[in-house]
């Protein structure tokens, strides 16, 4: 009984620590509940899809797919093209997805093939692969676009005539998915105020008494995310999904059971890359600005950190982990700078603190996973030898 309790606590130590940190930091930051809920909802819409794209490779035993940045880059290329062609609104976003998909498939296939040559080192390899493809991406965007690949819109290009500029405004597709079904939750007074400003009839307004202020709900994005969760639940039950789980359990056994291990692993990475491509497009339609040379970098790190904070490990992750993670991670993201400022008078400290936490949490999760795996391996060996004493 005690042991079981201990296991539960140990299994959820990371989320628990974060809840504790947040419990201290939220009052320190002095933000109102309405503000926090609004920010959190926005960020759930913005980031969940990206994080969900990590689940399938974990299922296939390939660890955290640091190569998801490849998909993010594919999505960004799609967005650059629709900006150039001036396609706006929801059609623009869909077109960006359509352009990104084949690129993501090719990159995902490449990534999967490389990872098959580096079994047991998938994470560090996919991590370096992200840097490598980043070099190719920069080559493509900084030199070939506008030179070999025709770009008609001069506002996209650097003043020298080729190469895409550093920040691209995505005002044409900004919030199209978020505001597809405009919805607010508001206290009675605030709702009136909100409708006065934004015009009546354009919003689905849900009245909540005693609520101070109004909260916009990115309902369109949330529905897409919900559908995607259903897809994952369904996918797990398919033949392919079962194969992946079998490979995740034990490659050798899966292989002798007649599962095409390498092929299935490639499919897992391709799916993940394509989904990351869509995830990045959703992320950027919310942000409204594309940082051509940095956006994808952060996508990988923050998504992985959030998933781990949600209680996932390198070998096991669920949909619940995604949402717990996104909420806890971003809660800290929102409150840390302000809490840092109020605590020691410097916002910069909170800023660094949250960077430290993102990296630290990934480090701790990786260490715990490897530690546990090695201990299990050692225990298995010991039981094989029938010698309880050990060395």
């Amino acid at each position: 009984m005690m042991r079981k309790l201990f296991d539960i606590i140990a299994g959820n130590a990371v989320p628990a620590v974060f809840i504790l940190i947040s419990a201290f930091a939220i009052p320190l930051s002095g933000y109102s509940a309405t503000y926090l809920v609004q920010e959190l909802l926005t960020r759930i819409g913005r980031n969940s899809f990206l994080i969900l794209s990590l689940l399938i490779p974990i299922m296939a035993g390939m660890g955290l797919n640091f190569g998801m940045v490849l998909g993010a880059m594919a999505g960004q290329i799609g967005l650059l093209f629709i900006y150039d062609w001036g396609v706006v609104g929801l059609p623009g976003m869909i077109l960006a997805c359509l352009i990104g998909t084949p690129i993501a498939i090719v990159l995902g296939f490449f990534c999967g093939a490389v990872l098959n040559r580096a079994k047991g080192r998938e994470m560090v390899t996919s991590y370096i692969l992200g840097f490598f493809i980043n070099g190719v991406y920069q080559m493509f965007v900084l030199y070939l676009m506008g030179w070999v690949i025709p770009i008609t819109n001069p506002t996209l290009l650097l003043s020298r005539g080729y190469g895409v500029r550093n920040a691209v405004s995505l005002v044409g597709i900004r919030g199209v998915l978020d505001n597809l079904i405009p919805t607010i939750i508001a206290g009675t007074d605030s709702a009136k105020q909100f409708i006065n400003i934004n015009g009546a009839g354009t919003f689905i307004a849900v009245h909540v008494p005693y609520l101070n202020g109004a909260i916009r709900i990115p309902l369109g994005t949330l529905i897409v995310i919900g559908l995607f969760c259903l897809f994952i639940v369904w996918f797990r039950k398919t033949k392919l999904g079962q194969d992946m789980r079998a490979i995740g359990q034990n490659q050798a056994v899966a292989d002798s059971a007649g599962i095409a291990v390498n092929r299935t692993r490639i499919i897992a990475i391709v799916i993940s890359t394509v989904l990351a491509c869509y995830g990045q497009i959703i992320y950027l339609q919310n942000m409204g600005t594309l940082n051509t040379y940095n956006s994808h970098d952060q996508a990988g790190m923050f998504s992985i950190a959030a998933l781990l904070i949600g209680g996932a490990s390198v070998s096991r992750a669920s949909i619940a982990n995604v949402f717990v993670g996104v909420i806890l991670f971003h809660l800290m993201f929102i409150v840390a700078p302000m809490a840092g400022k109020n605590l020691v008078g410097e916002a910069q400290i909170g800023e660094y603190f949250r960077v430290f936490v993102s990296y630290g949490i990934i480090a701790i999760a990786l260490v715990l996973h490897a530690w546990k795996r090695n201990r299990e391996r050692e225990a298995a060996r010991r039981s094989l030898r029938g010698n309880k004493g050990g060395e």
């Binding site: 580096a118 994470m123 390899t125 840097f131 070099g135 190719v136 080559m139 490897a370 530690w371 090695n374």
Partner: protein, 378 residues
């Protein structure tokens, strides 16, 4: 014979070497001086050499590529900043000690003339124990996560760098050249070492061919940072000798075949810890050598990606994930830094654009990727 050479050297290395050679040949035609380029390559070789050397112990002991180099670098940064903070105190302490123990040559005058080398030495002396302690903990950690060292090393590096970002802001440094002027506290992002130990190694015994009037025009811009190269050579020899001692041999055995090593009575975990400590200490010394040549101490996110060039260099030199030699370090650092020096100057003059960053990204990460995907035994 040629076939064997190609096999030994490996295709990527040959391609990169030929590319570098082509750049050197093309240089005069686009108006880039070969002697200047060569000097720059030599300087950068000396700057980065020790940090690449830091890869050897861990690779040999089977701990993989040290992506956690930033940990050693942090120790070096602490040594560097403390040596400036306590510059005056260190000198007066030295003179005081000399008076106490009747060391007649160590006078105030001597300390003043040799202020800069003493500063550099103090930076190293402060950094080494810090690095050893950090390395010891880091080694203990890596022993518990065998098989996943590289990924964990990466994130240990990242999290220690970001942790130090907070520390640099909060540590009670006071020296006016180092802290932010308006707040009076918190270290600056870059700190100049000018007036402390700028170019101490570069300029000692340096050869400047321009000083000799008899030199032909095409070579008289050549500058050889002899002191720095000697320093690198000394460090390399120390590592070389160490790898041949009983401990070093045991370490290599652990890297080649841990089971066999254990059966022969070698303490596997201890050897691995020693290798990590050594690697971290070399990283700390390496960054100080780098800074005295570069002229600035880069704090905060500065050390963040510093492991990647070092890792790429040693792989470019022919090392694999579990085998590395001094020759790999020398060849690799020269090739890598050569490419870094030559691509901006030559390709930019030719194409009129700066592609060096992109080439660096592709070459260095391509090289690491190549090494990671090669089939290794065990």
């Amino acid at each position: 014979m040629i076939k064997r050479f190609i096999q030994n050297a490996g295709w990527p290395r040959i391609i990169i070497a030929l590319f570098l050679l082509a750049l050197f040949i093309a240089a005069p035609f686009v108006g880039v001086r070969v002697d200047t380029s060569l000097s720059n390559t030599l300087v950068r070789f000396g700057m980065n050499g020790v940090m690449v050397l830091a890869m050897i112990p861990m690779v040999q002991a089977g701990c993989g590529l040290n992506f956690g180099l930033p940990l050693g670098i942090i120790a070096g940064l602490l040594g560097a900043t403390l040596s400036i903070e306590w510059n005056v105190e260190i000198l007066s302490w030295l003179v005081g000690m000399a008076g106490k123990y009747n060391i007649s040559w160590l006078t105030q005058e001597f300390a003043d003339t040799w202020r800069e080398p003493i500063g550099l030495a103090s930076a190293i002396i402060i950094a080494v124990p810090i690095a050893a302690i950090l390395g010891w903990f880091y080694g203990k950690l890596l022993n518990r996560v065998k098989g996943d060292e590289m990924m964990i090393a990466t994130y240990v590096g990242f999290s220690s760098v970001s942790f130090m970002c907070i520390a640099w802001l909060l540590l009670p440094y006071k020296h006016p050249t180092m802290v932010w002027g308006y707040a009076g506290r918190g270290l600056r992002t870059t700190i100049s070492v000018e007036g402390y130990w700028l170019h101490v190694l570069n300029d000692s015994l340096a050869v400047n061919l321009g000083d000799y009037s008899s030199m032909p025009e095409w070579i008289n811009h050549l500058y050889i940072p002899t002191g720095m190269l000697i320093f690198f050579a000394v460090m390399a020899v120390i590592v070389w000798i160490f790898m041949r001692t009983k401990t070093g041999t045991a370490m290599t055995a652990v890297g080649s075949n841990p089971e066999f090593a254990r059966a022969s009575g070698v303490n596997v975990d201890k050897m691995r810890t020693i290798s990590v400590v050594l690697s971290t200490v070399l990283g700390a010394v390496g960054i100080i050598v780098y800074e005295q040549s570069f002229g600035f101490i880069q704090l905060y996110m500065g050390p963040f990606y510093m492991a990647l060039p070092a890792v790429a260099s040693i792989l470019l030199g022919g090392a694999s994930v579990n085998k590395a030699s001094i020759l790999n370090v020398i060849v690799g650092t020269f090739l890598f830094q050569g490419i870094l020096t030559m691509t901006p100057s030559v390709i930019n003059s030719y194409l009129q654009t700066d592609m060096s960053e992109v080439i660096r990204l592709i070459v260095s990460n391509g090289m690491i990727l190549y090494a990671l995907t090669r089939k290794v035994r065990g």
